[in-house]
């Protein structure tokens, strides 16, 4: 078996010299970060040789510290769902800053249609509408949420595609509008007490199930469908995409719609998990979602990245967050450190791209 393989026109190429996929680098980074926290647990005097990842106190049946793993993955699942959409937007050469407030606005609206009539035998004290809105089938709030997401996304997309406003500005405006809608909906009052079937959507490990299901769906969309191919093409060279007969404007609207529908679904899962919706929900979610994508190797200049990368990026994000808590780093420092990590990820990515460009 020779490592050499035939190319077109009799040229040979060495398959073993093929560069690693970027996702592999992120996976290595994930392992390294886990190892660093593991080592810190042994080195730092106040840690009493606790393990970060492993079950050293025989609390669980497996070798892993299941409680921590569960927290990590639950923490990232909901923002992870948003980051699946943000990934597609960034690959297409755009950015979406409106997802955090969109989560709040959608949660407020959806929760109003998911309320139960009686709480412990008493009328629902947080009712938004009259009795007609109580105990509706769970599909009603879900559809309303997705429709609202699609509506906001289509406005984002239409503004960006047809008025040539930079995506940063268009979605920044939508950021404020959505936060305003969230506060206006009940004049700041939280909306609570959902039906049992609605509460099931975000109960236990359900957020993780949704995250993984949607990740598989988005991976298939981006990798195996015309939609995905055109998303990459537009982000890579918009003029070439247009000259190839791709309807770039319509496609952009579609990309932003899908991203906002994913954010809306994240809002459904989040409000179900919390059993309440508040206008202040989703703080920094848009930035964390972008961070997950960027850490996962999605290039802010468009055309490059993958769902697998973003899922790994989300895990890196979760591990770092959990690791900071594990080494008892103050919450204030945690946010600062997060900012530094996001900047390093982008710098690293640019450095990698420059090196790749210099090679060719």
């Amino acid at each position: 078996m020779s490592a050499k393989s035939d190319g077109i026109g009799g040229l040979k190429y060495d398959k073993s010299k093929k560069t690693w996929p970027n996702e592999f680098n992120i996976f290595i980074a994930l392992v390294v970060i886990v190892a660093i926290f593991e080592a810190l647990g042994q080195i730092l005097p106040y840690m009493n040789s606790q393990s970060f990842l492993f079950d050293t106190q025989d609390r669980f049946g497996t070798i892993f510290n299941e409680a921590r793993l569960r927290i990590i993955i639950l923490q990232i699942a909901i923002i992870g769902i948003i980051s699946l959409g943000v990934t597609q937007v960034i690959i297409s050469g755009g950015i979406d800053l409106s997802s955090g407030p969109l989560v709040a606005a959608t949660a407020m609206i959806v929760m109003s249609f998911a309320q139960t009539g009686l709480v412990n035998g008493n009328p629902n004290p947080a009712a938004v509408f009259g009795p007609w809105s109580f105990d509706l089938p769970v599909i009603v709030p879900i559809l309303i949420g997705l429709a609202f997401g699609a509506f906001i996304g289509s406005i984002n997309g239409t503004l960006i595609a047809f008025t040539r406003i930079p995506p940063f500005i268009a979605t920044l405006g939508m950021f404020l509008i959505c936060r305003g809608i969230a506060q206006w909906w009940t004049r700041g009052q939280p909306v609570s007490f959902p039906t049992e079937s609605y509460a099931w959507l975000g109960s236990g490990m359900m957020p993780v199930v949704w995250f993984l299901l949607l990740a598989v769906l988005c991976h298939v969309l981006l990798r195996y469908t015309v939609y995905g191919k055109h998303t990459y093409a537009i982000g890579s060279n918009e003029a070439a995409a247009r000259m190839s007969g791709i309807n770039v404007k319509r496609h952009k609207v579609l990309v932003y719609m899908i991203a906002s529908m994913l954010a809306a679904f994240a809002a459904i899962v989040l409000s179900s998990k919390n059993l309440t919706a508040q206008s202040g929900m989703g703080l920094f979610y848009e930035l964390f979602a972008i961070a997950m994508a960027v850490i996962g190797g999605v290039s802010l200049t468009g055309g490059r990245g993958s769902i697998i990368g973003t899922v790994l990026g989300a895990m890196v994000f979760g591990v770092i967050q959990s690791g900071f808590t594990y080494v008892k780093l103050d919450a204030y420092y945690q946010i600062m450190a997060m900012g530094a990590i996001i900047i390093s990820a982008v710098v690293l990515d640019q450095w990698r791209q420059q090196r790749a460009a210099a090679r060719s």
């Binding site: 009799g10 469908t225 990459y232 007969g245 055309g303």
Partner: protein, 267 residues
Amino acid sequence: MSGIELHDMGDIILETRDLTKHYGGVHALEGADFILRKGEHVAIMGDNGAGKSTFVRQITGVEQRTRGEIIFDGHPVHFDGPLHARKAGIEAVFQTLALADHLDVPDNLFLGREKTWMDWLGPFRFLDYKAMRQDTIDALEKTGVKIPNIRNTIQNMSGGQRQCVAIARTASFHSKLTIMDEPTAALGVQETGQVENIIRTLKEQGEPLVLISHNMRQVMDLVDRIVVFRRGRIVANLDKDETDHQDVVAYITGAKTQPEYEVAEMT
């Protein structure tokens, strides 16, 4: 044949009448009458600034003409952009490449006309990677293009390989007319040969071509007819078999002008 002329003149694929383009006071193109027959390969030659690229930009809809008529495939046409011209069947390879850097060779070859299955899914229909890859290999092998691994992204390829992909893409469209503007200007000897092979393939397939080139050897090798531009005007229309290197150079530099074009030059 004066007065009313028939637009469907049988074997004519492209005709321009009095095609003129002024940029403000600059007369970049003046009264170009040009005919291209089906299956014919014609070279356009001339010095820099002679009006070659301006001529092509009017035909492909990149710019809007000041005056004149373009008759394509039997109909007068007004293209409002290059995409419009492409949809009508005019395929152009421009000096600036139009490839998506982050996609591989089959993706670029089939961009915008992907092979798919489960088409009822609309924009979410599935790509038929296998068929596209096989067609790419067939198309490239037929033209002798050398690319080590077609699954590499375009950004990792040499300028020559990129140009070959762009031209192979054009050739694979089976368009009614192909226009190439300096397709080998930046290429090495071997890569130039590959591009010329693609052009020969087009000839065998009977697809008409307008080739802008400075390369005399290439022009003499490839085309049937040479049209010379000088200072915005056509000054010669030469059958390749009835002319030679020195003759063409004489027309390009202004030492000679064909009698039928002299009147135009006086005015």
